[in-house]
Symmetry: C2
Amino acid sequence: MKLKKRSDCPVSTSLDIWGDKWSLLIIRDLMFAKECTYGDFLKAPEHIATNILASRLQALEENKIIEKLDHPESKAKVLYRLTKKGIDLLPIMIEINLWAEKYFPIPANRKAMLKEVKKDKIAFIKSMTKELERQDVR
Amino acid sequence: MKLKKRSDCPVSTSLDIWGDKWSLLIIRDLMFAKECTYGDFLKAPEHIATNILASRLQALEENKIIEKLDHPESKAKVLYRLTKKGIDLLPIMIEINLWAEKYFPIPANRKAMLKEVKKDKIAFIKSMTKELERQDVR
DNA sequence: TAATTTTACTTGCAAATTGCAAGTGCAAAT
DNA sequence: ATTTGCACTTGCAATTTGCAAGTAAAATTA
């Protein structure tokens, strides 16, 4: 599977990579949990189909948004993690949350996070980015 | 057509509305041009199919992201414009552009805009929002 | 050690969505 | 009065999605 660019527009190019109903949910899970297994993604409340999950994970990996790494406890498990390119989607993710909060009721725990964001957005992003970047030695 | 929410997550809810390959391109056009006709959207370099455009415009209108208004020059034309809810997607749009700029080559005119953004993001958004909100009396 | 379970997928197929081409109906221009 | 422009709609083939079941390797249990 190769990326087909519809135009040179940066918005269009971005959507070519993660502009579907599922990719940003996978990225969301990785931002909130830092690392996830295949099974973790399946536990998300939106209930992605297993074949769609597999195809999205593959596409995101091909586009260097996520990467696989060995699970420290088991060879049967696979850990997925955001690359720097993926972590850099954080500002977009935060703005999506802020927009949604303005127009829809949202869960309390997410609301608490956004309260922190609004205190100092730049600091929040910097700190969360640092956390996500910390690559544990295994 | 009614919105089916996959979960209470604000990201998921947002994607239910505009999380496809085309909606944000329509919104992009309206942000850059302020107002567009049906034909204007068709002129975009990504070449959306006419039936897809019609269905997206309808969905975005149902979700109060855009609204129709009478064209001042002709009853045969229809003008589309962003609502406040749509204009509030601007921070997301800007972050998408900034992310893309970091990882892909992007056109010079867009790059010039992002230079302005980076000088003072908050001021840029405020000023562009104001411009988009100005509802001309016709 | 053998049998069962867990984990990460793959496969097959029906249903929904997309994309292309052509058509329609009203408005405006000629 | 006829043609052109504009905003869609329609029909249909191709692609994508979603569900259910299956597979293979690794880990656990008996």
